[in-house]
Symmetry: C2
Subunit: 510 residues, 2 copies
Amino acid sequence: MKIFLKLSSLIFLLTIAFNKNTHAQQKPNIIVFLVDDMGWQDTSLPFWDKVTPLNRRYHTPNMERLAKEGMKFTNAYAMPVCTPSRTSMLSGMNSARSRITNWTSPAFNNPTDNQDEQFEAPDWNYNGLSPMDNVPHTQYATTYPELLKEAGYFTVHIGKAHWGSAGTAGASPYNMGFLVNIGGHAAGHPQSYLPADNYGNQPGKASWQAVPDLEEYYGSSDFLTEALTKEAIKTLENPVKNKQPFYLNMSHYAVHDPLQADPRFYQKYIELGLDVQEAKYASLVEGMDKSLGDIMDYLKRKKIDQNTIIIFMSDNGGLSLTPPRGGKPHTQNLPLKSGKGSVNEGGIREPMIVKWPGTTKPSSIAHQYVIIEDFFPTILEMAGIKNYKTVQQVDGKSFVPVLKKPDYSDNNRTLYWHIPNKWTTNDGPGINYRSAIRKGDWKLIYNMRDRSTNLYNLKTDIGEENDLALKFPDKVKELTTLLGTWLRSCKANMPIIKASGKSAPLPDEN
Amino acid sequence: MKIFLKLSSLIFLLTIAFNKNTHAQQKPNIIVFLVDDMGWQDTSLPFWDKVTPLNRRYHTPNMERLAKEGMKFTNAYAMPVCTPSRTSMLSGMNSARSRITNWTSPAFNNPTDNQDEQFEAPDWNYNGLSPMDNVPHTQYATTYPELLKEAGYFTVHIGKAHWGSAGTAGASPYNMGFLVNIGGHAAGHPQSYLPADNYGNQPGKASWQAVPDLEEYYGSSDFLTEALTKEAIKTLENPVKNKQPFYLNMSHYAVHDPLQADPRFYQKYIELGLDVQEAKYASLVEGMDKSLGDIMDYLKRKKIDQNTIIIFMSDNGGLSLTPPRGGKPHTQNLPLKSGKGSVNEGGIREPMIVKWPGTTKPSSIAHQYVIIEDFFPTILEMAGIKNYKTVQQVDGKSFVPVLKKPDYSDNNRTLYWHIPNKWTTNDGPGINYRSAIRKGDWKLIYNMRDRSTNLYNLKTDIGEENDLALKFPDKVKELTTLLGTWLRSCKANMPIIKASGKSAPLPDEN
């Protein structure tokens, strides 16, 4: 009996020892594969209920592969421009609350608003997100990579950051929770994708946008997308070898302007009849897709694909300004209306895919609407991190329940967009000085210029062509009130009317 | 009996399980604490057999503490200037072989040689060290941090790098084997030590030397030395938590020019009667020493001090040019002759301390001469890495036998210095166009200008005041032949005589 007891104690100790040893391996690795300026339709993977001409134009076999292994989200949203999306993701805050409502300049204290006859720019946080308090014109926040790092994750940022202006702590991924940073800084696009240009790092020519940290690839044949992918894989070697859970922010500069041909794919699209600009764009998309495939292959080769979550996302809709895009303006995201910068679906609906082995079912599809700030609580929940503290109020809601149950449905949830800025010189559909709300299938857009509202039913009218505002005044009132109340609750800022010197009214103000 | 067998099997399994679990912890952590431009006497820790006035001037209690816990080297050497030392350390190559014989400009393809009437500059590797082949004017090499990383070490670079020009892969610590880089790039000194200057990062003012990655400290009260120390400790949190062995290249910008007062220590030295420049310098030294203490305290707090090796070193002798230094030129390293840039002892002899718990005896002193390229094989041996492959021929020799046995003695070893460049505009003692050899207590210096040789016995004449060349012609011949043969064997380059267009002769050529 005594011996038996000892035996069981030993087995118990043995179990503890082995558990301790494998503990680090059991936390899932997490990859956010974030594309820049990629539209909802810029893929051969259909996110709508029909295959569109754009789906036939683009070739993204690895997105198809990821969707086959995981879950496709048909109603995933981001903000209309990059810094608001990226800082919402990192902080879990809606950009109306963070007041980071437009893109941040790489230069400090340099609001990016365009001049306007009617409005002065609002007093927004044009220096971006900050991990420190009391930095002028920034939102102070605790980022989820910081919380992941504290929980033992090896946190890696590769590629575009664009969270804050140079000279603020938020500009450096090192200050935002990352142990490694390759290529991330204050700039929002690459000076050049080309290794022959040293990605912009040329004496007397380098701008804010010259991509840092890639000296090894200067003059090589590695297009920027490829160089970043190689750096990501190189960096993961260490945590993989040490069985340490990692978080990879694989944040491509592609497919943002400048539209430069990825030579590996460009010719094909010319031969398929695309004009030069659109062929260049399509080559950027396919180069990005190859990166996804390379990373998936790497995970498989290292036998960690079954313990690695991949979240594919874009930060805003596809650019629909011409030039640089080819074709007619604002047709680049059809059937969606408008593009980057707009609160119309073309500016905010994103191609999103999540593979969480053991949780998401292969080839599953979720129609529940989700939004970029949801990444914050979702990723922390995936990592098993609870009771964390943040200095900011988090707006996002974990979509883990959706991942577990694809037919999860909550039509009472409200999503919000707010851009009281003049993003580009000329207004376009849904572009400049707009707020919007989605609840269920209904979407309402508020135009700060003339205080008009548009109401759409996205279920029957994904292209936002039929304004139902006159037909459903009660719905307009309900959504206008919800939107106004919410904007007020998070102290959202509004542009200043030049004529009166007063803030433009909120949607529900008389 | 059967149960007994099972029990022993379980104990065996348990042992394996625990061993596996603690394996990573058993590899020692390694810190190289590298100071910039610190002279052999710039410390209250005496490295000579007498306490000197300079030892009384400086306050470095943490160097004293480290020496008490480890081993002091009285005859440790580096190259006369920084890039040669730093690249020799990383590659294990003597700089005569790597042809990186002077400091590298942050600008690409920009030799740093001064104009000279007698000589054209040699064709040296003025773009520095490279982890890739075929980069113009670089030496291709495998670095030991790369080998450490491959062996599972978490490799961290903090502070000054200065291994290669901007635009080459060698400029970025990421390409040189480091998983993390904070503050290291192509520049060789900080634009400013002051947080109020953002360490140089100011619009319209930032030069190559503006220190990157420290946005979090802009406008704080953290002097550069302090900010880098905080970043180092922050970065170590992750490997320490995960019980992963780490290598930290704690590479301070201090005490390099610009001589700016570290406000925490400056006033004391003024009150002690130093002139302004020298008080500033002494404050930089003490700020650096505090950093060493902070790191030692951290290791103790984390209970990893008994498994962490610390190697303290400087990259060349103290600067003896005035200004920026105060006092009479070339007296700043007394009793040693000359200073930075010189092959005299003042330019190359370094304060070196090694603490390897369990190996080095407390308060031990080693008189065996060692040199910066020895760090390469030594550190790999400390990490238990054997049979590694390098693309370069390694000149360094492991000093682990010295660490194990302080009275280890090898007087037949030869050390070499070779600087066929014009480092500064005016020649000074041992400065510009010199080679040197040490064997036992003998040292011979070869002056390329007039082909003269000086012979010194360092045992009786550490100040190199008594030239014994005429008295010991056989010794001159022996050392001249050794030096010439060795320079020839490593294809060392020589300056070009303008009058003839030919290379200056090697020391043993007629």
